[in-house]
């Protein structure tokens, strides 16, 4: 079974990754000059990326163990510990968080002029909390990071957001909080039966079937709101549209992945029986999200809102893959989470770049800008194609593998879901056409300036990832493969304790 493998390096790398951004935001408190603030924040986020290198290089992807483990007693009376560790799944998200934070800081360079220091503090603080969420192996610690994350995100949307930011910020906060507090009751209930918050111990604890059903539901509310799944997705379009570019990138790139990560890390290994029982419902909701999100995307006149609804659709693919519960589906779902982080992050970056010049997000205000801003148009095209899932780009790999997994056991769902890909191609290409192609329709865009070096530098890593994952997906699959098979084996072994559902499970997990 899973165990915590202590770090091979001489220093607590994961703690360092959590506390470096905290240190950064603390230092920023004492800096008044906005220009210096930007550079310091950037430096800290780059150091964070630098720390990912020893993490990735020393990670042993041939074993399923939690690595770089750290374990310190925290609140001994209740058996609460400060336990950290990464496996082949979480390590990818740690890297993604570090990358997208740096990109967010770069795109905010000139876009944020008001209260720069506070902005950068919030971004760095958010980074620390995000990494904390992905590396915590103690439910209590996880919950702390999970909710602490709300504070900077709420402030990012509420202070630096668009005109309707107040509504969006409070809606985001309340939706997520209601889901989270129910999970908190679930966490306490788990402690009540197992007497521990240790994730690895809980994974090996057999829970009764009815307990599983209820607590799965409690966790599900938290994760479903975060993903977001239909019908609790309504905060997402508002939050995305109103958030500043950096907020949108982090929100789309990392935050909404946490819901799906929660399913993988907690719901599935803790409650395999309940997972099986809930699967038909979740699959149905996923397919609805795919089609509904795409359908709504067609109707949008706002650039950002269109991308927000496309996120709902794409995250539907992710949950569809995860709950197919086979290795293709799970690995496809995970890689699609990374892809969506890259592609949607890049799309929001694209919106941010153009919005900074024109101060409008209405699609109708653009048209034919490719002739004025060729670099920008090329960037947008690459990302559009990646989002559609053109072979050779990352999007293709994700959707293909997910559908492969879903086809094995859920043919009808997979067939309907594949319609979502066609719709996706429709609204994305139509978007590109309306923005970039044809003649200039808006005279204001006659003298549009193309992307500058800073913006290109921010976009470049994302474009590179589009092709790296698209052409050599094994780079990511290799890292996660052992961990994912271990998860499947674990569920397989644990679920047999409940003979009633074992039958279905064996067919489901099959091979």
């Amino acid at each position: 079974m899973l165990e915590l493998k202590l770090h091979q390096l001489d220093f607590p790398l994961l703690s360092l990754m959590i506390f470096i951004p905290v240190l950064g935001s603390f230092l920023l408190l004492f800096i008044r000059n906005a220009a210096v603030v930007r550079w310091v924040a950037l430096a800290f986020s780059v150091v964070e990326i630098g720390l990912c290198l020893p993490l990735l290089l020393n990670f042993d992807s041939s074993i399923p163990h939690m690595q770089f483990g750290e374990n310190l007693p925290w609140i001994a009376a209740w058996n609460i510990n400060y336990t950290l560790g990464v496996d082949g799944i979480s390590i990818l998200f740690v890297a993604l968080s570090a990358l997208l934070t740096t990109i967010s800081i770069m795109v905010s360079w000139t876009a944020i002029q008001d209260r720069v220091r506070e902005f950068m503090i919030a971004v760095l603080f958010l980074e620390a909390a995000m990494i904390g969420v992905f590396v915590s192996l103690d439910l209590f610690l996880f919950y702390i990071f999970w909710e602490a994350m709300l504070i900077p995100m709420y402030l990012l949307i509420g202070i630096w957001g668009g005109p309707n930011r107040l509504y969006a910020a409070i809606k985001f906060f309340l939706y997520t909080l209601v889901g989270s507090v129910l999970m908190l009751v679930g966490i306490i209930a788990i402690y009540g039966t197992t007497n521990t918050f240790d994730v690895l111990k809980i994974m090996n604890h057999p829970f009764s079937y009815s307990f599983q059903l209820w607590v799965f539901a409690a966790f599900f509310t938290a994760f479903a709101v975060k993903v977001p799944m239909f019908p609790v997705h309504t905060w997402l379009p508002d939050a995305h549209v109103e958030a500043p570019t950096a907020g949108s990138i982090i929100l789309a790139g990392v935050l909404i992945k946490m819901g799906a990560y929660g399913f993988l890390r907690f719901s599935m290994p803790f409650f395999p029986d309940a997972t099986i029982a809930w699967t038909p419902w979740i699959m149905t909701l996923s397919v609805i999200a795919i089609i509904y999100g795409a359908y709504m995307a067609f109707a949008q006149t706002d650039f950002k809102k269109l991308i927000a609804y496309s996120s709902v659709s794409h995250m539907g693919f992710v949950t569809l893959g995860l709950f197919a519960l086979n290795s293709q589906g799970l690995e496809g779902g995970i890689i699609q989470m990374l892809n969506h982080g890259v592609s949607t992050g890049a799309l929001f970056l694209a919106v941010g770049v153009i919005y900074e010049r024109t101060h409008t997000r209405l699609i109708a205000d653009y048209g034919g800008i490719a002739s004025r801003v060729p670099v920008y148009a090329t960037f947008l095209l690459i990302i559009t194609l990646s989002s559609i899932g053109l072979p050779g780009t990352n999007g293709f790999i994700g959707e293909f593998v997910i559908l492969l997994g879903a086809f094995l056991h859920y043919k009808p769902y997979a067939i309907v879901a594949s319609l979502g890909i066609i719709l996706g191609a429709g609204y994305m290409l139509w978007l590109y056409q309306r923005i970039a192609l044809g003649k200039i329709t808006n005279p204001h865009n006659e003298h549009l300036a193309d992307m500058n070096m800073r913006e290109v530098a921010a976009a470049l890593p994302l474009v590179a990832l589009v092709f790296v994952i698209g052409l050599y997906p094994n780079a990511a699959f290799n890292v996660m493969h052992v961990s994912v098979s271990n998860l499947i084996q674990h569920m397989h072994a644990k679920v047999q304790s409940a003979p009633a559902v074992a039958q279905t499970v064996t067919t489901l997990l099959g091979n």
Binding site: E147, A148, I151, A169, I170, V181, L182, L184, V185
Partner: protein
């Protein structure tokens, strides 16, 4: 032969801290006569010194555990824990008052004396081993706070607050006495241990026992502002001087919980089958009314009044859960609540300056731009009151709900967390107004060393306990031995 002095010291040792506070209070009244109007602030620092001395004596008494004065005074770890909370509440209350009283022009010596007397009353409540001592302590506290609430003599709102509090308070005292007399009639003793012994063998179906218990719940429900005995809270909190409101929301409420804990987990423990559901019901009502009515308030003091009702609801959840876990969680919670709530009131006081009340929540507009430190402090207190992690409020709520789940009151925990999520709306509204609205004009804040000290203490506490509650939690758990 020990001298009389030594004898006195020996017998009075268990109540020495209370005696010190009384002596300091009386000397405050005396010194007051010799001070000019501009020098009254010295009395504040003098009273604070008294609190510190009393706290040191209490610290020295920490090893003691027993009954004194024929069982009327209990000096157990449980009582001592609460005494420390009262010292903190009173100390912060004094620090908040020193400059504020000058602005309000109610700078009189008796103010500090009354605060000390109230604190002394609360300490007696926590230490009471007998219904009579309990009642004495309660009245000493209540009478002092009635007067404090009305200390803005020229202000009709303050007068209204004092009268309202007095009339309703007297009414609840009457109900309490009735309940106590019933208990005495049944058990034949006013001693808490004696009553426990009686109840262990008594016929618990006797409706008179149930009636007595209900009356005690009603009267202490009034003191801790539980719904439906909360009607006085918004008006009194709004009308009283803000420093008194801050003190009232912390001290007497915590004292009420100290008594409730001792009564329901010790004296009336045999009645647990009856009391749990009543307390759980009260908790739900209190959380519901407090949180929902807070949503629509436009006056910050009224909002904090409803918020303090809601917080009594959370603490009642822990009380309903009962057991060592429940008791420890309530103790931790009221302690955290007292400090963070006084911190929030501290920021409200900063907005008060001559000629301007600064009580409307729109007065906070743009504070994030004009005064970053004040706004940031308020942000921390608001997130803490909401119960968002990294701040003490979360730890408090977490242990409350944990106790409830373990006592198989999962439904109660679910209701609690949902209301807690609702509360995010009105706490966050303050943050929104501070950071996301444009300032109406330059906001000048009143700051003073004493206010700054109070805020520094409370914010440090909120952050430190939010990250590392272990020691405080362990201390609370070790202190329940007296009532279990």
């Amino acid at each position: 032969m020990p001298s009389m002095y030594q004898q006195f010291l020996q017998t009075s040792l268990p109540i020495l801290p209370e005696l010190i506070l009384c002596i300091v209070a009386l000397t405050v009244l005396l010194i007051d006569l010799f001070l000019d109007k501009g020098q009254k602030y010295l009395l504040g620092w003098y009273s604070l010194g008294g609190i510190v001395v009393a706290a040191v004596v209490s610290y020295a008494l920490m090893g003691m555990n027993g009954q004194f004065f024929e069982g009327t005074i209990l000096l157990d770890p449980f009582a001592l824990f609460f005494k420390f909370v009262f010292y903190v509440a009173c100390g912060l209350g004094i620090l908040l008052s020193i400059n504020y009283l000058q602005i309000e022009d109610i700078n009189r010596g008796e103010y500090y004396a009354l605060m000390l007397f109230a604190t002394c009353g609360m300490m007696l409540m926590a230490s009471a081993g007998d219904l009579i001592t309990l009642y004495l302590g309660l009245e000493l506290m209540a009478l002092s706070v009635y007067v404090l609430a009305g200390s803005k003599k020229q202000d009709t709102r303050s007068n209204e607050a004092a009268i309202k509090y007095l009339v309703l308070g007297a009414f609840s005292s009457g109900i309490m006495l009735y309940g106590m007399s019933l208990l005495y009639g049944l058990a034949g003793t006013t001693n808490l241990n004696g009553i426990l012994v009686f109840l262990r063998t008594a016929d618990l179906t006797n409706p008179v026992i149930f009636l007595a218990m209900s009356m005690l719940i009603v009267s202490f429900g009034f003191k801790v502002a539980a719904v439906p005995f909360h009607m006085w809270v918004p008006d009194v909190y709004e009308g009283a001087p803000t420093s008194v409101t801050a003190f009232m929301s912390a001290g007497p409420k915590v004292a009420g919980f100290a008594v409730l804990l001792r009564l329901f987990l010790h004296t009336l423990a045999p009645l647990q089958a009856h009391s749990t559901m009543i307390l759980a019901g009260l908790a739900v009502l209190t959380m519901a009314v407090g949180n929902i009515l807070a949503l629509s308030q436009t006056n910050i003091k009224r909002m904090l009044a409803y918020s303090s009702i809601a917080h009594a609801g959370y603490a009642l959840v822990g009380l309903a859960a009962g057991g060592p876990d429940g008791a420890a969680s309530v103790m931790l919670y009221v302690c955290i609540y007292a400090v963070m709530n006084m911190g929030a009131f501290g920021v409200v006081i900063m907005l008060r300056k001559a000629g301007e009340k600064g009580e409307d929540i729109m007065d906070f507009a743009g504070l994030g731009k004009t005064n970053k430190t004040a706004a940031f402090l308020m942000l921390i207190f608001m997130f803490s009151l909401t119960g968002i992690p990294l701040f003490a409020g979360f730890m408090g709520k977490f242990f409350i709900f944990k106790a409830a789940v373990h006592a198989k009151l999962i439904w109660l925990a679910v209701v609690g967390v949902l209301f807690s999520a609702i509360s995010a709306y009105f706490y966050l509204r303050i943050i929104m107004i501070m950071y996301m609205y444009e300032p109406k004009g330059a906001i000048e804040l009143t700051t003073s060393p004493s206010l700054a000290l109070a805020l520094a203490i409370s914010v440090t506490f909120v952050i430190v306990i939010g990250v590392y509650p272990t020691d405080l939690l362990n201390y609370a758990r070790a202190s329940i031995s007296g009532i279990m």
